[in-house]
Subunit: 344 residues, 4 copies
Amino acid sequence: MIKAGIIGATGYAGVELVRILLRHPQVTLAAVSSVSFEGQPICDVYPSLREICELPCRSADDVIAESDVIFAALPHGLSQDTAKACADAGKKFIDLGADFRLDDPEQYESWYQSEYRYDDLHKSAVYGLCEMFREDIQKTSIIGNPGCYPTSVALGLAPALKNKLVSPVGIVVDSKSGTTGAGRKPTQTTHFPDCADAFSAYKVASHRHTPEIEQTLSKLAGETATITFVPHLLPVNRGILSTIYAKLQDGVTEEQIRTAYNAAYAGERFVRVMPKGQAVNIRHVQCSNYCDIQLYVDEHTRLLVVTSVIDNMVKGAAGQAIQNMNLLFGLPEGTGLNMIPLSF
Amino acid sequence: MIKAGIIGATGYAGVELVRILLRHPQVTLAAVSSVSFEGQPICDVYPSLREICELPCRSADDVIAESDVIFAALPHGLSQDTAKACADAGKKFIDLGADFRLDDPEQYESWYQSEYRYDDLHKSAVYGLCEMFREDIQKTSIIGNPGCYPTSVALGLAPALKNKLVSPVGIVVDSKSGTTGAGRKPTQTTHFPDCADAFSAYKVASHRHTPEIEQTLSKLAGETATITFVPHLLPVNRGILSTIYAKLQDGVTEEQIRTAYNAAYAGERFVRVMPKGQAVNIRHVQCSNYCDIQLYVDEHTRLLVVTSVIDNMVKGAAGQAIQNMNLLFGLPEGTGLNMIPLSF
Amino acid sequence: MIKAGIIGATGYAGVELVRILLRHPQVTLAAVSSVSFEGQPICDVYPSLREICELPCRSADDVIAESDVIFAALPHGLSQDTAKACADAGKKFIDLGADFRLDDPEQYESWYQSEYRYDDLHKSAVYGLCEMFREDIQKTSIIGNPGCYPTSVALGLAPALKNKLVSPVGIVVDSKSGTTGAGRKPTQTTHFPDCADAFSAYKVASHRHTPEIEQTLSKLAGETATITFVPHLLPVNRGILSTIYAKLQDGVTEEQIRTAYNAAYAGERFVRVMPKGQAVNIRHVQCSNYCDIQLYVDEHTRLLVVTSVIDNMVKGAAGQAIQNMNLLFGLPEGTGLNMIPLSF
Amino acid sequence: MIKAGIIGATGYAGVELVRILLRHPQVTLAAVSSVSFEGQPICDVYPSLREICELPCRSADDVIAESDVIFAALPHGLSQDTAKACADAGKKFIDLGADFRLDDPEQYESWYQSEYRYDDLHKSAVYGLCEMFREDIQKTSIIGNPGCYPTSVALGLAPALKNKLVSPVGIVVDSKSGTTGAGRKPTQTTHFPDCADAFSAYKVASHRHTPEIEQTLSKLAGETATITFVPHLLPVNRGILSTIYAKLQDGVTEEQIRTAYNAAYAGERFVRVMPKGQAVNIRHVQCSNYCDIQLYVDEHTRLLVVTSVIDNMVKGAAGQAIQNMNLLFGLPEGTGLNMIPLSF
């Protein structure tokens, strides 16, 4: 059994890790930490866990000491020292924050106003988008788990970009996310009376996931990709839908698009290309590790429109992190991740 | 492996059975039926199931022929012939409808305007409230799976009634249910624009679960129990909260109450008596088979106030039905039911 | 024109006062205050008000100086000094907080852990339940505007108690309120991901509105009334539904009940007794000053069940306060309050 | 007083007309019709209207006979005969359906599979986007009231197109609408359990509002405009947010954009250009006739991003129709439309 530990277990991504790992057949949840609730059992914070998991919240150091693999769900900037401590102790490390996602130190420092430390750790870290970088993941010990929006966009565009079916330049990404993406800490924006029956865009063309998305799309395309990224806050808890608009290359047909996507994802356990006529819906992937994709060709303007949905807290955070853990430990990629999406 | 079949699989209770049975370690889902969608794969009706369960919807006869145990989620009145067919074929039968819940034929006929047929089947049928009637359940082949509201109320009151701590007469039951209880068929009441931001009582003191609740409470009390039952429609999908008001017998203290509940449910896998100060919430049991209970003594008016929550589609329908199946087949009661409630 | 001022204008009750008073034909909104946003225009806090009301938030003293009538929407305990200042300046004062609702100083001090000051002010203050105490209201200058829950309960029970149709003892009040009742300040309980799809009881048999409700019911009954009061938090913004259970006196019939209610409210502009068969719904009163009432007699247990709905922020706060203002100034009671409830 | 009548008064747009017209100072609501509820008072269908409007639902002919101006909220195809009858009777006619929006008969017939009749009526009809075509509106008697999505898009882009600041070709319009846009008739898509916590795109690049939007944008640009239009269904009742992406012409700066919008809308009662930094939100316009606009320049990709919000049932339907009526009768454009958006 793998001993797994979670640093920052009382945030939403953290407690979703708890929920999934408790039922993983090859994992023992060894220890959890929380700065805000140190000393309290986690079921005091999440009464849903009573009689199921009553582990006390401990310190980050305790978690590292007790675990073979450490998941960290921390505010950006704080994961680098944790990664260092894990590396020094010979433990595997999966970061759900942003510290190990960007290759370029300058981009990291400019978008996150944070220092880029431990150069060798960053060099050995792999961006954990399993479907794309599976082989590199299997060889490393430090994973930068992808952001939620970037996961939905990269999976939604990969076959089109790899097969040169669309232009990588000037892609429009209009994304809509549930409120759990904003975290567990109450704010005015996520206060129920302000957030229910409301809908707005935020961080228009200035969200920190922009460089992360462009980095991945550029790798997939083999050339520089540029996007305009506009996220919106949906009055639901779970789910991201990204509507992506890319210019079709001359002569590309809907059939070619569909063939490329079906081929690319035929063997993928967690990506479902929907048959023509079946819209994707955040509802259809909720509480599961799936990414569902639908494709449209607008002949009128020669755009490819991709709609891509994930559960932001599963495929967009905890589930994908566990998929990465499975790869790190040589387990079948879907182990412990066989959750069926809610029907309603 | 137990071959399980579902009649009425495209209703909400039916598809929740699908979702849970697909992950039950001792079950193979043998066949499903649907009158509305016969011939179509169930994943066309619930795209969430694509690549997970693509079974075609067949006829009820096919389901009976292919299965060791048949679950029926049908409108009331229609289960009796199905039960007869199952009995004739030597198959076990679990009815999620109301046809096998009431002992008294006259009550059934008066509340359901339906005929009570196959007397011997009714006599052999057991009311499947597992925590109360476990021994009888193990000896039968026909289960009347309890209604959603009655489950929340019976579990909420059992220790108080059995221990004569409250009066069984004049109990007030104020229940609030999510919209899935109203079924999958669109109606004006459950039309999103009419139902969102709305809240109302319905079938005040005239809901069909009234005699079912009184029947169970009377058995628990060992004397005739009477209730005023008022259900309300909550603008959420899943969950029932029942707030129950019962007159305390003279001299009964909060400590006696709490002791009785803790003793009664100490060994129960699916009933959690919350520690004092921790309110129950439909959120804390969503997508799980738990019933959470909290207790209050109002000294001012000498009432016991019980709050009891379940997921109406799990403990109130599909989950409890599978718990019954486990009992029928001599499996540990929690097999296949280890779902952890959602944290958010 | 009446010059009206609002102290605490950026809370939910405060800004609802702004919204209604801006369209009141006899009122000029003279000044508003806010401790948190002093110096900023109110449309920076509520962008919905841009180009409609760009008044700056000023100090409470400014508001008193500029206004003929002062509305205060403040945390309890803070209104007494404001009332004193208004009285000294010869201004009328309408308190939306709890400081002037309870007659009994001991009750106030025990339920609110706050000191009862300015005895003469308290003696001159009138409880502003317009439909019941209209004549006293017209003679005073200080109004204690009723709490939201107490308004729904008092209007729901008044005709039954006044006509001795039910017992005033042992009444059960099961109330459900939208989240705006919890105020504008973000908390964990009202954090969207924790509050959506959730439902729970809170302050069971210990909510501060209990003595206020009992005080009013006792006045209506002419003898001591006792209640068990259990509030619940609904995942909607606006609206309270109270389901009220009272013992029918011997021999009382549904017809007598219905006749009494129709008679009592025939001339009331803001109370609608629904015809038999038409359920009340928080939706039907949203954004209006109506209280809708429906009546049921449970012959089985001899209980009267009343369902009563209001918009907690209008009839339960700002609307009723303006109705009181109209009485104080001798205007027709409905002036400026002709809002039609939303149809959806 | 203008005698106004509504054909199709029990649909959502119809009843919103009722709600607003009842408070219009220059209007008497003369008669309403409904095919489904003929003979019943409208307050039986919408209990919110009890004691406020108890008009019986009559026939369309009755409405025409009793009114000076007729609003029709009918399924497409059915308004043309009504328009003819109104014209023959010398009454003004405002169509909330699609029959009088498109100039080109072929487009109408191809997108709506419906016949284009009464050529002269179509020629005299004016597209009722008040802010753009005010002068033509004042001269006609037949108005094609704009669609909800087209209103949000046309107002959102007009100053940019008129001033040649963006390219009219290849505009991406990603719109999100509340559920009332789908109408009052229950469907599976708008069934609460299927619609709550859900989000999806629909009619991708094939929605009937596409030619209507392109027609208006082309008029504004003075050349052919093309769009890719993708609508999405939001789990809220009211509101549309359109996020619009258009290519900036060379050298155009954010300052130029902002100047053009502020100039264009400076005198407009119902269009608010938000100050920089203040996001628009469907919440900020709910239940009002406002359109709020915010502007972003993405220098990285040289796109203008416009976010534009309206209440789909007010500015996107009933409110704009009444604004048109005011123009037809020479009243100040905002008469009866001074509703303040809800603060929560």
